[in-house]
Amino acid sequence: MPSRIKSGPLVVYGLLVLLAASMLFPFYWMAITSLKGKADVFSTEPKLIPGRQLAERVVDDPRWFFHSGTDNYSQLLAWQRLVESGSGPRGFSRFVLNTVFFALAITLGQVITSSLAAFAFARLRFPGRKQIFFAYLATLMIPATVTMIPSYILLRELGWVNTYQAVILPSVFTAYGTFMLRQFFLTIPREIEDAARIDGCSPLGLYWRIALPLSTPALAALSIVAFVGSWRTFMWPLIVSSTEDLFNLPLGLTLFRGMYTDPDWPLLMAGSMVMTLPLILVFIAGQRYFVEGIRLGAVKG
């Protein structure tokens, strides 16, 4: 059946294109809306291609894009309502900076603490190693809903509610990261380690000069998963932060949504773009590590 052999790939491509288009359409809709004025959204004439009017406008007058098209974004950045923040940037730019800071601090903290612990579990001999590791494994199943209330109480007793460390600290210590890196460290051949040890390398030297450099794919995978996770984190910051100067983008965006009974969708979509676009860029830059992270993480099952 030669006809079938020829049409096969075409049908598959057609299906894939259709599916990809429907998965990506929401992003297109978000981008297009974020460039519109509030009034444009409410024009009820049917639009077969929602972006056509915009495209026509840009073609008519390319400078329009930089004047009106980016209105929502400049309006966002100019938005200031913070009264509580004593110093530093205010308003929307504060949310952006907080998000960047949280994500970097949590990622760095996770990589440092879990790689150190993973090295101990994989490469050092000490009494109680098995038992402690088992305790780590056992807690992988425990949901955040169980731990969040006592964690909140603990931070409250320390007087840390509504501080940066309250948002960051509980997310820094991850059993998952420790487990994943341990699995990876176990694959490093012992011979390399023995040779280094004979040359007089200390455990810290083994960790720093051998284990870490040989594990860059796993470290990159953990970093990216941690970064993406902490960039989008919502529930925990909601619990521990009470003033706007501590809000990250997810919290800040809900503030915007709540500000209007009749939401300014283009403005909200511009805000959503600011939150979403960096995630898309991180994904494009590090997508092979994502797949690696899933592969390593799935072993835990």
Partner: protein, 307 residues
């Protein structure tokens, strides 16, 4: 020598272990204890935590005690809010089999040596990376009754779309649709893809020689070979389905129109009504359900995944 080894190990372990003790182990124990207590974190200091026995659990199941003027204590049924939230959660989990089938379908489509597969894989994966408050606001906008893209598309084919997020009938399906968008091309699809690539080519060739068509091969070779990964995905989906589902209803519906999930209910009880003990009891019941389901699943998996 032994103490030196311990010292060095402690150096490596302590940063993580201290955090583990403070934010995992202590909370688990404390949460269990707290579920048998009563405490209002706003009005009272920690020292006012007061044991109440099983009262939180009885309350959760649906009763509270009342002492009448004669000093007689009786049990009165209360509104079964916990069960409502569990019903909502389980209802939205009905999408799991469909999502899994969709993930498998995407993986099967991607699992061939043709140009551009990496681009399609990225396109399918992208929603799961970006899912968060930003995309939730986006879907609120897409679900908008008059101007949203979904109802615009429906209008082309002559259907007047509902007010998705403001309707008891449609709010759950709307959240499920968004979750499917964010989920089907994500981790599960990648796991299926990895599973497919591990199936020996000979099996398909042998089946083809025996005269099996595409569909029969999928049904009789691919699906059985993928059973272990399917079980894994199913268990993970059930766990995350029961425990998750906080952000979307909190942001998009505020829990109205039958969208209060167990985790949203728990959050409200703990951090809005300040019933820390009761919220802990909810967390433990949820954990128990998850634990039992996981055990049952593993048992079933052990029995069925042998061939």
């Amino acid at each position: 020598m032994r103490s030196r080894a311990l010292g060095i190990a402690a150096l490596f372990l302590l940063p993580n272990l201290l955090g583990f003790l403070a934010f995992t182990l202590f909370p688990v124990v404390a949460s269990f204890a707290l579920s048998f207590c009563r405490w209002d974190p706003v009005a009272e200091p920690v020292s006012a935590i007061e044991p109440v026995g099983l009262r939180n659990y009885v309350d959760l199941v649906g009763f509270h005690s009342r002492t009448d003027s004669g000093g007689q204590t009786s049990w009165v049924a209360n509104t079964p809010r916990f069960w409502e939230s569990l019903y909502n959660t389980v209802f939205m989990m009905l999408a799991i089999p469909f999502n899994m089938a969709a993930s498998l379908l995407l993986a099967v489509l991607l699992n061939r040596k043709m140009r551009g597969m990496a681009i399609f894989r990225s396109a399918f994966f992208l929603p799961s990376i970006t899912a968060g408050v930003g995309t939730m606001l986006l879907w609120m906008w897409m679900f908008n009754k008059d101007m949203g893209s979904i109802n615009q598309v429906l209008a082309w084919v002559g259907i007047q779309g509902p007010d998705w997020l403001q309707s008891y009938f449609w709010a759950k399906p709307a959240l499920m649709l968004m979750a499917s968008w964010a989920g089907i091309g994500g981790v599960n699809m990648i796991l299926y893809l990895a599973g497919l690539q591990q199936i020996p080519r000979e099996l398909h060739e042998a089946a083809a020689l025996d005269g099996a068509g595409r569909w029969q091969q999928l049904r009789h070779v691919t699906v059985p070979m993928l059973l272990p990964v399917t079980f894994f995905i199913f268990i993970i989906s059930i766990i995350s389905g029961l425990e998750g589902g906080f952000d979307a209803p909190y942001v998009m519906t505020g829990g109205s129109f039958g969208t209060t999930t167990v985790s949203l209910y728990l959050y409200r009880q703990g951090f809005e009504f300040f019933r820390m003990g009761y919220a802990s009891a909810v967390a433990w019941v949820l954990f128990l359900i998850v634990f039992l389901l996981t055990m049952i699943n593993w048992r079933l998996a052990e029995k069925r995944v042998e061939y």
